[in-house]
């Protein structure tokens, strides 16, 4: 298969996986306990850290200064997109806030979040195609609990199940665009790779620390959050070690 096509296919699989986020709500009452939201966030956080581990381990070479620059860019990117979308201090998991503005904000933040994941996939594909496929699949699994959180917010606003599932996929389309374009740019300019690896490290860890983990602790117990995050990360790292 043509490499660019591979990127397109696997990043699309990852985005489509978000549709599965409605599964926990398939029951009659269309709602889940708040602690599930926390667990979904912790699971997503662990999977994301695990996916980043592979990129950091293989992708970092000797040009560490470029990686530092990239990491600063990645963190600043998330910081400024939060500022601009006025999401810096926003509770992204609110099930009570039903203002229209909040709905748009949550979808926007989700799209930006998915964009960074897309960059991660594109970078991983540029390192080796195997790592790229692995990263895309890890992030596809990560997208399921993440979309479940999004669906919890959407359903609490009275949106239909089918529409919530569709919106979750739409919010992840930016992933496909960014994965393909990152891969194309790095193919044309391989010298940018250390910058891109740094960018992914900075952006992903910042996303975990600012969006996924903070609210999970108040939604469920500390022990369950810590366990889920560590074990999810450990599983991805194990698979990374065994398969690649």
């Amino acid at each position: 298969m043509n490499p660019t096509l591979t990127v397109l296919v696997y990043s699309s699989v990852a985005a489509a996986a978000a549709a599965l986020g409605i599964l926990p709500f398939a029951g009659r009452d269309r709602s889940v306990p708040l602690s599930w939201v926390g667990w979904a966030n912790a699971l997503a956080a662990g999977l994301m850290l695990g996916a980043m581990f592979g990129i950091a381990e293989v992708g970092l070479d000797r040009s560490l200064l470029a990686a530092v620059g990239g990491a600063i860019l990645g963190m600043s990117f998330i910081y400024w997109t939060h500022r601009i979308s006025r999401a810096t201090d926003l509770d992204l998991n609110s099930l009570e806030n039903t203002s229209p503005e909040y709905g748009y904000q949550v979808l926007l933040v989700q799209s930006l979040h998915a964009a960074s994941e897309g960059v991660a996939m594109g970078v991983a594909m540029s390192i080796t195609l195997e790592l790229g496929v692995f990263t895309a699949l890890a992030l596809a699994v990560h997208n399921v609990p993440e979309a479940a959180v999004l669906c919890a917010v959407l359903l609490s606003r009275g949106i239909r199940l089918r529409d919530a599932s569709g919106l979750a996929v739409v919010a992840n389309v930016s992933q496909v665009l960014l994965a393909v374009s990152t891969f194309a740019v790095l193919g044309a300019m391989p010298a940018l790779l250390p910058w891109a690896v740094g960018f992914v490290m900075g952006a992903l860890v910042y996303l975990v620390m600012s969006e996924l983990l903070p609210e999970s602790y108040s939604q469920s117990g500390h022990t369950s959050i810590a366990l889920l995050t560590s074990v999810a990360m450990g599983v991805v790292v194990l698979l990374n070690g065994v398969l690649l």
């Binding site: 910081y79 500390h222 990360m233």
Partner: protein, 242 residues
């Protein structure tokens, strides 16, 4: 010097380097509520970064052993935490939750030094040049660990000498383990990946169970996120440099 005392001396050197991590706290006297959050965030970033480095090294020795070690480490810290919650642990005038965090980080860091000691000792099996290199690498890498320990101890009322003392204490397993590892390199080799995984699991659970929740509780999320991310990336790159 006999070979054994040389190995011991090198191990002691790496342990002493841990004490250097307390130096920044020479200039910080009183620590506010917010300062605790910052210090926790720094320690969390450093430890998470260190654990990435450990896992990468462990998987080089054996993936499965590393992962088994990782899970045993996670369970170990959970048990220690439960144990500390059941018995009143009181250090000086610290409140109970604070005492628990202090004891936990000391246990985690001390336990993880065992595998570093083994690394120093076995490196001597590969000749003096390699041994020197590994010793310097571990000594330098110990400094941020001392920083992480002091970042937890200092805001909770420990003075600078105690920070230095406990930092060095946490690395004492290094000289102690380096000698038997040097003498029985072959016997220790299969256990190394397990030990490294154990250390990583203990650290990662400590980060998510104790350090991060308290940081989020005491300071606004974006600040915590920024500090954790920055120290995390810095720690990973720093390990690459060695």
């Amino acid at each position: 010097m006999t070979p054994v005392s040389t190995v011991f001396a090198y191990g002691l050197l790496t342990a002493a380097a841990t004490g250097l991590g307390a130096i920044p706290f020479l200039f910080v006297r009183t620590v506010s509520h917010r300062g605790v959050a910052y210090a926790n965030a720094i320690a969390a970033g450093l430890m998470l970064g260190a654990c990435f480095g450990l896992i990468a090294e462990g998987t080089a020795h054996g993936s499965w052993q590393t992962i088994v070690g990782l899970n045993v480490g996670i369970v170990f810290i959970l048990l220690v935490q439960r144990l500390l919650a059941r018995y009143e642990v009181q250090i000086g005038s610290l409140r109970q939750a604070s005492s628990r965090r202090v004891v936990l980080i000391l246990v985690v860091m001390t336990v993880h030094s065992f595998s570093e000691g083994v690394a120093v000792g076995s490196a001597f099996g590969g000749g003096m040049a390699l041994a020197g290199l590994v010793t310097v690498a571990i000594a330098v890498h110990n400094i941020p660990e001392g920083l992480a320990i002091s970042a937890v101890l200092r805001p909770r009322g420990a003075n600078i000498l105690q920070c230095v003392g406990w930092s060095i204490f946490s690395s004492l397993p290094q000289p102690l383990m380096a000698v038997p590892a040097f003498l029985f390199v072959e016997a220790f080799e299969p256990g190394l990946a397990f030990g490294i995984g154990f250390a990583a699991g203990a650290m990662v659970l400590m980060v998510f169970l104790e350090l991060l929740p308290e940081a989020y509780q005491k300071e606004r999320t974006p600040r915590v996120a920024r500090i954790v991310s920055a120290t995390f990336v810095a720690m990973i790159l720093f390990q690459r440099l060695l």
